[in-house]
C-alpha cells in the first residue's frame, strides 16, 4: 500500500466506517438554524462534505487537498472526517489527476477533483477535451462520467503569473462538457451539490476572488432544500437568476463579475437608471429564455466578463441575444471584458478588470434618447 492511503484507518477497502463518522459530523452541522454569515469557501466545503456523506462513491482528490485542506482550504477537514481513501493527495500531475478520475468514474466512482489554479489545469486539457467530453458520446451513453473538475479561476486577488486566468471559454467551447460558475454563497453550495449529482461531467469554475465573500445563509436549510429537490429530480442546471430586477437595461454577468455588475446597478440607481442584473450561473447549458426575456423587456444590454473578449463566452452571449432580441433592441449590445492581453501583474490588474465605471460608461453608450 502507498504511504498516502495506508495511513488511513480504513485501509482495508471498506469505506463505510468513515461514512458513519461523516454522518455524525454532518448531523452536527445540520443543527445550525437561521441565516448566518457564511463564506463561499465554507459553503463549497460543506457541499463537498454533505455529498461525501450522502454517497460513498464520492471521492475528492488533487494536489494539497488532503492534510492541508487545499491551498484555498475548500477541502478542509475532509480527510480527517472521511479518511484518506475518500479525500487524498495525488502526485503533482494534472493530466494524471483527470485521467485517473476518468478511470474511477468508468468503474463506479463519482470523483470530485481539484485543479489547484486555472492556469495549472492546462496539462489536463487533453484528458478533458479528448475523453471527459467525449466518452459518453463515443460509447452511446454506455459509459457515463459523473465527475466534477473544480477550477479556482479569475483574477482580483493580486496573484502572480499563471494564477488569475479566466479559462472558462476553453471548456464552454468544448462539446460534451457542462460548465457551472456560482456567484453567490448559496449557489456555491447548491450548484456544487448539483454538479456532483449530475451524471454528466461538470467543469466547476470557482471565482477565487469570491471565496472569502460572505452572505447570510442557512446551510441547514440549503441542505434540506437540496435533498428535497434531488429526490424530486429537480435541478437548477441551465437556469440563470435575476440577481437584481430593473427596467432600463440588462447587465449580463457570471461568476466573479456578478458582484461588480450589482455594484454598477446600485450606482446607476443613484443616477435614476434602473438596471436589471442577470447572473448566468451555468454557462453550459445556457439559459437563453431568462436572458432574452430580460433584454426584450429592457431593450438594452451589456455583457460583463473578466475573460478576454475575443472569441469568448461573452461574444457567444452577445450573438445569442442579438439573434433572439434584435427587434427589441434600442442599441447595439455592448461588452465590458478583460482586454485581449495576458493577465497583468498585480499592480496593473485594476486597469484590466471590468469595473463599475467601465460598466457605467458602457451603459451610458446605449443610445439613450434623452
Amino acid at each position: 500500500m502507498s504511504p498516502t492511503i495506508t495511513t488511513s484507518s480504513e485501509a482495508n477497502g471498506n469505506v463505510s466506517a468513515a461514512t458513519a463518522r461523516a454522518a455524525a459530523s454532518a448531523a452536527a452541522t445540520a443543527e445550525a438554524t437561521g441565516p448566518q454569515p457564511v463564506t463561499m469557501a465554507k459553503a463549497l466545503n460543506t457541499a463537498l462534505a454533505d455529498a461525501m456523506h450522502a454517497d460513498p462513491s464520492v471521492l475528492v482528490f488533487g494536489e494539497d487537498v488532503g492534510q492541508l485542506g487545499g491551498v484555498f482550504r475548500i477541502t478542509d477537514g475532509l480527510t480527517a472526517t472521511f479518511g484518506e481513501q475518500r479525500c487524498f493527495d495525488t502526485p503533482l500531475a494534472e493530466s494524471g489527476i483527470v485521467g485517473m478520475a476518468v478511470g474511477m468514474a468508468i468503474n463506479g466512482m463519482r470523483p470530485v477533483i481539484e485543479m489547484q489554479f486555472d492556469a495549472f489545469a492546462y496539462p489536463a486539457f487533453e484528458q478533458i477535451v479528448s475523453h471527459v467530453a467525449k466518452m459518453h458520446n463515443r460509447t452511446k451513453g454506455a459509459v457515463k462520467l459523473p465527475m466534477v473538475i473544480r477550477v479556482p479561476y479569475g483574477g482580483g486577488i493580486g496573484g502572480v503569473e499563471h494564477h488569475c486566468d479566466s479559462s472558462e471559454s476553453y471548456y464552454a467551447h468544448t462539446a460534451g462538457l457542462k460548465v457551472f460558475t456560482p456567484a453567490t454563497v448559496a449557489d456555491g453550495y447548491r450548484m456544487l451539490r448539483e454538479a456532483i449529482d449530475s451524471d454528466d461531467p461538470v467543469m466547476f469554475m470557482e471565482p477565487k476572488k469570491l471565496y472569502w465573500s460572505k452572505d447570510q445563509v442557512d446551510l441547514a436549510e440549503l441542505r434540506n432544500a437540496h435533498s428535497a429537490a434531488a429526490s424530486a429530480g429537480q435541478s437548477s442546471e441551465g437556469r440563470a437568476a435575476v440577481a437584481r430586477p430593473g427596467t432600463d437595461a440588462t447587465l449580463i454577468a457570471y461568476g466573479p463579475s456578478v458582484p461588480t455588475a450589482l455594484a454598477a446597478a446600485e450606482a446607476a440607481a443613484l443616477e435614476g437608471r434602473s438596471l436589471e442584473v442577470i447572473d448566468v450561473r451555468t454557462l453550459v447549458p445556457f439559459d437563453d429564455a431568462t436572458v432574452s426575456e430580460s433584454v426584450r423587456k429592457t431593450g438594452r444590454a451589456v455583457v460583463i466578463a473578466e475573460a478576454h473578449g475575443f472569441a469568448s463566452v461573452s461574444s457567444e452571449i452577445v450573438a445569442r441575444v442579438q439573434e433572439r432580441c434584435f427587434h427589441h433592441l434600442a442599441a447595439p449590445i455592448r461588452r465590458v471584458t478583460g482586454f485581449d492581453i495576458p493577465y497583468p501583474a498585480p499592480k496593473l490588474e485594476k486597469y484590466y478588470l471590468p469595473g463599475v465605471d467601465r460598466i457605467l460608461d458602457a451603459v451610458d453608450d446605449l443610445q439613450w434618447e434623452n
Binding site: M1, V102, A142, F286
Partner: protein
Amino acid sequence: MTISADHTAHPDTTGQAPAEDALSEAAKKFGITAEDYMLPARHQIEMVDPDGRLKPEGEQGTEPGHEYPLPGDEELLAAYEQLVVGRRVNDQNSALVRQGRMAVYPSSHGQEACQVAAALCLSQGDWMFPTYRDAVAVMTRGVDPVQVMTIFRGDWHGGFDPLQHKVGIQCTPLTTQLLHAVGVAHAAKLRGEDTVVLAMCGDGATSEGDFHEALNFAAVFHLPVIFFVQNNKYAISVPLAHQSVAPSLAHKAVGYGMAGERVDGNDVVALLAVLDRAVKLAREGSGPLLVEANTYRMQAHTNADDDTRYRQNSEVAEWRAKDPVNRMRTYLTDRGLLDDDGEARIREKAEAVATQLRDGLSEDVPVEPQELFRHVFEKTTPQLKEQSALLADELARDAAASQNPASQEAAK
C-alpha cells in the same frame, strides 16, 4: 547500489507497510535484492526460438527471482488458435480497407502473439485498456469482431460496450488510456476487489507525458496495473532510437519503483509465462509491473503510410523469419499437440471469423442523423434540442422535395 525512497513526509501512523517495504517484501519472496527485483533480467525472456524449438532452460533468459514456468499445453493450444484467428483477422481487415469497405485499419500483423497473450492472461473480472492497433486483443477478449471494427467502419466512433466486456475504448491519443487503467484499478482497490488491469501502449508512446504520469500514479497508489509495452520498433516512421536511449523500455520501471521485464514479443509461450506471472503477482498485491515485448510492425503504420520511405526490406525480411504464428505451429506439431485435423479445424474457425467480418462490414449500415445529438450528454441541453430540430426540419424538407418532383422543379 541501494534503491530507496524517502517517505518520511507521511509518517506511518497505522503500522501498515508503505510501498517501499512492499518492494522489500517482493524481493524477500524471491530471495533477491529490491533492485534486482525491479530491474529486468539481463536478457529478454524467450522460450521457443524462431524455428519453433524449445530453448534449453539455461538459455531462456531467466534468473533467480525472474523464473517463469512453461504454460500448460491447453493454454498454448488455445493461444495458437487465437494466433491463427488473429492473423486472419488482420489480413481480412487490410483487404477490406483495400476494397473501400473500411476507412483505415492499423494492422497488428506480426504482433499477434502480443495481442493474444494480452487477452488470455486476464480473468473475466479484469480490465484491458487497448490502443487503436489492438483490435485483435479486443476480439481475443471476447468482443464481437464486427463490433470491434465499427470504429473503422465509419458510422460511429466505437461499437462495443466497455463496461460489458471490461475493455476500454480503443484509444488513439497515445497513453491517455493508461491513466484510465490506473483509475479503474484504483476504484476496484478502494472497494476491496481483486481486479487486475492491463494497460497497453507502444514504444513511441513511452515518450508521452501520460506514460510517466500513469506509471507514477500506479506505483504511488500501489495499484494492480500491468503496463504492457509492445515495442514494434516504429512510431509511424520514427525508430525507437529517436524515442529513448534507455537501456530498454523495461528499465524505465525501476524509476517508478516497480518491477520491469523484457520478453520476446513473437514468442507466445514466453509472453504467456511472463504475463501470467505478472497478473498473479499484481493480484497478490505486488503493485504495478511493466512488461516490454520485443516485436515488429510487419506492415506500414496504416494503408495511408509508405514504409519504404523509412526502412529497408531486408529488415522486414529478417523479422518475417521470426513470425509468431509459424513458430508456434512448428512447436506444437513437434510436441505432438497439433495434427493436420487440429490445424484444419482452427483454419476453419479463422475463416468463419473472416466471413463474419466480410459480411458485417459489407453491409450498408443505415445511419440515424438524430443520433448525433442523443449521446452528447446524459441530460441534454436546450441548445442541442434546437439543433436537433433544425436538422430534423432540413431532413423533412429534403424528404418532401424528393417525394414531390414537381415542387423540386418549382424550387428551381
